[in-house]
């Protein structure tokens, strides 16, 4: 199961190589000078612009859709409805459709995938769903024409949330999905029912995790430019899965996949993943019209329909002993999947897989139900199930600690998986049908370090002092594990051109993750060059035939490994040719500073450029017997299993007990993400994740009314954290190299976002002790906190004096 390939033979992964160094990013210069090219910055003469008519109704039959007046609106080139685009396959998620039979049986999996039609098929099922599309000379005129589209809706009964969706007699979203249940599973480890039947201490609670929006700063967009004469299509798209886009577009427009080129741009974040209708519709329009067409999402469209996540209700019960050891947990989870269910159980099974976190809990069951509702479809958003699981688990742990009068750090030490239990089998299967095994780590040491870095004792003292002055300070903590580096694969092509310059291509598609720098560092170590001499072309379908993309904390692990391995193969080729030229054995050569030379004799060197020249095909070629010309290699890394990163957060907050406002004061994180390619980049990912999590904990919530209308339609109401909402963050690292890839990397893109809701809720509860606040729902809006304080006070007042 652990991979045997090794890359550390010639260059140490950490030490005097480029990997592990805090070098400045190659991306930065163009981005700080305004020379980045984001999707809306592309300029192709004659490009038309699309605008979508979106449903204003949460659930309704379209009884009349008349676009004739819009067609004659100024500047309009064409208008399309669902009927016009009926042949386009609906978008869904391949990972959601493919169910592993072993897993399906073990988890009693029932799934009814429900892909979303490109444009509404006669019924609209959420506010913001695309109904029709106008193509015009410019966006203003396209929007002008939208108001000339006549659409009449016959309202249908609304399923406002997941609990309403599974209520008896609930209206149905789709006739072929009985009870609105789009997926269901039951994952069991050990014998939880047996433990619960045997009596002892029990606690139960109900938790809610609000819906949030991924809300990347760059809205989505796509530009498709056809070459009608050749029957080819070039597509630029803010989708971090370019090869998947190519596949969909190829099918939708009916041209061979290799005639669809999906090219990268700079991309302003994603924080989730997904195929979207517009990614397919716009290329179809471009092909039909024979002209370049682009669509740039606006923020209102974005907040209504792009990458909503979370939205879960948990009913959890826990059995524990008098020492605070957790004996068993049972959880029942309702996931509001929204109106379509493209991702099926991707997120909800992540909850199951990560629920028990860093804790040793033998007996566990979780029943997950994905419910269809009249809300936007839910997709994975940074964390994708882990923040939800961690919020429930770490709140439960604090509730148990409260019950027993234990310090929250102490109860964690009593339940953490000990270091000598690694690798640790958690007793469940992953979605690929393999057992989930934490590869390595030392969780108790991680908590000790986090408490030390935080100055836990010092803050406890400060807390007592401030309490005397009427200030309510609270301290909270949470830990997490993160299965990262998800497959099925990622690849790399590494090539040295005739000038000795190195090009790396990969199917990963960065959008802030700094892969141009970190992948260059990996390659540079193998080829003895500086990262500045390595150009990374990521997410260009013409540069590499297969690719998966950048999401799910996977690219450093999968693309990083692929780049390392492909570079290593090129290195071997370089050394073999150099050996021929220098008339020494390849094992006696060193490769450094762009030159190969006999070890200890750097004056007798050949440059990469010279080697590249003789590696080219033709009469001057000088290659070892049987070697293919060209300094190029391709490697596809298929991870044996996900690799588990981990982290522990400790936070201090101040609570205004009269208003319910919560202010984070200090935030500390200690993580293990294995070998760090570039610690500065790793820390940036962690900082960003924590801010994301602070938003989830305190500010961000997509809110729908009981009538299914969206109430957070703009940035005035959907509240991203600002710099004034995020405290200084201190970060330290453990480094347990992953045994599941040769560079020892674990993913770090999401981890920061996992623990803040739990840690902050625990801190708020801590601030108000000895009151017992029922903080069961994030975000902790000021009103929810104040309400919890008032009810706890009322309850305390109702108790007779002890």
């Amino acid at each position: 199961m652990e991979t045997s390939a090794s890359l550390a033979v010639h260059e140490p992964a950490v030490g005097d190589g480029w990997v592990g160094r805090r070098i400045r990013r190659k991306e930065d210069r163009r981005l700080v000078t305004g020379q980045g090219t984001y999707l809306a910055d592309l300029r192709i003469p004659g490009t038309l612009e699309a605008a979508f008519l979106r449903s204003t109704q949460p659930h309704a039959r379209i009884v009349n859709l008349d676009v004739s007046e819009a067609r004659s609106s100024a500047g309009v080139v064409a208008v399309f409805t669902g009927a016009d685009l009926a042949g386009i396959p609906p978008v869904s998620e391949p990972g959601g459709r493919d169910v592993n039979p072993v897993h399906a049986e073990a988890a009693r999996l029932e799934v009814r995938p429900k892909p979303m039609p490109a444009l509404a098929d006669g019924v609209v099922r959420f506010v913001g769903q695309p109904v029709a599309v106008v193509v015009a000379t410019d966006r203003s005129r396209a929007e002008d024409a939208l108001k000339h589209i006549v659409v009449e809706y016959d309202p249908l009964p609304v399923v406002a949330d997941a609990e309403a969706g599974v209520a008896p007699g609930a209206p149905l979203l789709h006739d072929d999905v009985p009870g609105n249940v789009a997926a269901r599973f039951l994952a069991v480890a050990g014998d939880p029912d047996g433990v619960f039947a045997s009596g002892g201490r029990r606690l139960r609670e109900r938790f809610m995790v609000g819906r949030m929006a991924a809300s990347a700063m760059e809205p989505r967009g796509i530009l498709a430019a056809p070459d009608p004469g050749r029957g080819e299509l070039t597509v630029w798209c803010t989708n971090a899965r370019p090869h998947l886009v190519r596949q969909y577009v190829s099918e939708a427009v009916g041209v061979p996949a290799d005639s669809v080129r999906v090219l990268p741009t700079d991309m302003g974040g994603s924080f989730g993943t997904g195929m979207f209708s517009e990614d397919v519709v716009v290329p179809v329009l471009a092909m039909r019209l024979g002209r370049p067409v682009r669509w740039i999402e606006d923020r209102v469209e974005n907040l209504a329909s792009t990458r909503h996540g979370r939205d879960q209700v948990h009913e959890v019960e826990v059995a524990y002993d008098a020492d605070g050891r957790i004996l068993a947990i049972r959880d029942r989870m309702l996931v509001d999947a929204g109106a379509y269910n493209m991702y099926v159980i991707t997120v909800s099974y992540n909850v199951a897989a990560h629920f028990r976190n860093q804790y040793h809990i033998d007996h566990f069951s979780i029943e997950g139900v994905n419910v269809l509702t009249n809300r936007a479809p839910v997709t994975p958003v940074r964390g994708a199930g882990r923040p939800e699981a961690t919020f429930v688990m770490d709140r439960v742990l604090d509730l148990v600690a409260d019950d027993l009068g234990l310090d929250p750090a102490e109860i964690r030490f009593r339940n953490l998986i000990p270091a000598d239990a690694m690798p640790y089998e958690v007793g469940l299967l992953y979605r690929d049908g393999q057992p989930i095994v934490y590869d390595n780590g030392d969780y108790p040491d991680q908590l000790r370090r986090a408490l030390h870095l935080f100055d836990y004792e010092g803050w406890r003292a400060r807390q007592r002092e401030e309490r005397d002055h009427g200030r309510r300070i609270g301290i909270g903590m949470s830990c997490f594990v993160e299965g990262s580096g998800f497959g099925p694969f990622e690849g790399a092509v590494v090539r040295i051109d005739q000038n000795g310059h190195v090009m790396v291509a990969t199917g990963a598609r960065p959008h802030g993750q700094s892969l141009e720098t970190t992948l260059a560092q990996v390659c540079a170590d193998q080829l003895g060059v500086s990262p500045n001499e390595v150009t990374v072309r990521a997410g260009d379908t013409t540069a590499i035939p297969f690719g998966v993309g950048t999401f799910a904390s996977r690219s450093a692990v999968t693309a990083g490994t692929a780049v390392g391995m492909a570079s290593h193969r090129v290195r071997e080729k370089v050394l073999a040719i150099a050996a021929l030229l220098l008339e020494v054995g390849p094992d006696d050569l060193d490769l450094r500073d762009g030159r190969a030379f006999p070890r200890g004799a750097p004056m007798r060197s050949v440059t990469l450029r010279e080697i590249a020249h003789v590696a080219a095909p033709g009469p001057r070629s000088r290659l070892p017997e049987g070697m293919e010309p060209g300094l190029e290699a391709t490697y596809y890394f298929v991870p044996p299993a996900v690799t588990f990163s981990s982290g522990t957060h400790v936070v201090a907050v101040e609570v205004d007990e009269e208003t319910g406002f919560v202010r984070p004061l200090r935030y500390v994180s200690v993580d293990d993400c294995g070998v760090m390619l570039n610690p500065t980049v790793v820390e940036g990912q962690i900082h960003g994740g924590i801010a994301h999590g602070i938003g989830e904990a305190l500010l961000e919530e997509v809110v729908y009314g009981e009538d299914g209308q969206l109430l957070t339609a703009s940035y005035m109401d959907y509240l991203l954290p600002t710099v004034a909402d995020v405290p200084e963050i201190e970060v330290q690292h453990q480094q347990f190299p992953s045994p599941r890839n040769p560079l020892g990397i674990k993913g770090v893109g999401e981890g920061g976002a996992v623990s803040p809701p739990a840690a902050i809720a625990n801190a708020v509860a801590d601030a108000m002790k000895p009151l017992r606040l029922r903080l069961t729902r994030v975000p902790l809006t000021p009103e929810r906190v104040l309400t919890a304080i008032r009810s706890a006070r009322a309850e305390a007042d109702a108790q007779p004096e002890a």
Partner: protein
């Protein structure tokens, strides 16, 4: 998200502007700083036929302290008013209130006249005008008139302004003597519209230190900014104790009529108004007592 089409006029004098509002009436929409109007246009929540841009009317762009009066031309930018030398020292509530308006880029462009005419119930200037005996000068085809602040604001985004009238100047009176003031808000994030806000100005008697005058304005908790007159009356002549202030603050409930939204229910806003009133009065009183008003520490 692009604005709908409109005609655009850019008068360079007040007289030209008045002629244009007279010509277009209901079809015309005045554009001041645009920090509220342009998003409304971009979201296509309004489609005026003609936009009359006041940004070229230089005669409306001035701000000055004249004795105990702060005189502000309607097109004066929030930031320009804030940068008046000595403003924070003379009246902290105004400086703090301006600092609570959005973010610096909003204050660089947003105007005092625009804010007053827009009459957002969560905006700061209407409350400052109510508390500081504000007056609003208005010009239109029927001539000019001066409206006292309490008579100016009618309801949500509604004032006594006729469609063909333009705000030209606003004035407030800065309390003298042993006075202190402050502006406090509860907002989900810094710079957001307030869930609730309270402005307080307190003047202590030079003779015995009792409260000679107290003013309280509240925002975000009624269809317009409101004055909590019963709170004010309860404090007049009282000794400035914590208990007196808390008791008086508890009376704000009679003056407010908050609505619920996703950031706070009516009940929450009532609680917030009471807490903010108490805190604002406490701080204003401390400033008055310590002659802290306008000390260097309050600038910024």
């Amino acid at each position: 998200m692009k604005p709908p089409p409109f005609d655009y006029r850019a008068p360079e004098t007040l007289a030209e502007a008045v002629a244009l509002v007279a010509e277009f009436g209901e079809d015309g929409k005045l554009l001041a700083g645009g920090q509220s109007l342009i998003p409304v246009l971009a979201l296509r929540l309004a489609s005026p036929r003609v936009l009359i841009d006041l940004n070229g009317v230089a005669e409306l762009e001035y701000e000055r302290l004249e004795g105990d009066r702060l005189v502000i031309g309607a097109m004066s930018r929030q930031r320009s008013v804030r940068k008046l030398p000595g403003l924070a020292r003379r009246c902290a509530a105004i400086a703090e209130g301006i600092d609570l308006i959005g973010h610096v880029a909003i204050r660089n462009r947003g105007t005092v006249g625009g804010s007053v005419a827009h009459a957002d119930p969560a905006a700061e200037w209407p409350a400052l005008l109510l508390v500081l005996d504000g007056e609003i000068d208005v010009a239109g085809p029927r001539g000019t008139r001066t409206v006292a602040a309490p008579a100016f604001f009618e309801s949500f985004f509604t004032t006594v302004l006729a469609p063909d009238e333009i705000v030209t100047e606003v004035r407030v009176t800065i309390p003298g003597g042993r006075s202190g003031s402050t502006f406090l808000e509860l907002a989900r994030r810094h710079g957001d519209f307030a869930i609730a806000g309270a402005v307080a100005a307190v003047t202590l008697s030079e003779r015995d230190g009792t409260i000679a005058d107290a003013r309280v304005g509240l925002i975000g908790v009624a269809p317009t900014a409101v004055r909590a007159t019963s709170t004010e009356e309860a404090l007049r002549g009282a000794r400035p104790t914590g208990a007196a202030i808390a008791d008086a603050a508890a009376l704000v409930g009679g003056h407010i009529d908050p609505a619920s939204d996703i950031h706070g229910s009516a009940d929450y806003r009532r609680q917030a108004a009471r807490v903010l009133t108490r805190r604002a009065l406490t701080r204003a009183t401390e400033r008055a007592a310590g002659s802290l008003e306008g000390s260097a520490g309050l600038a910024g």
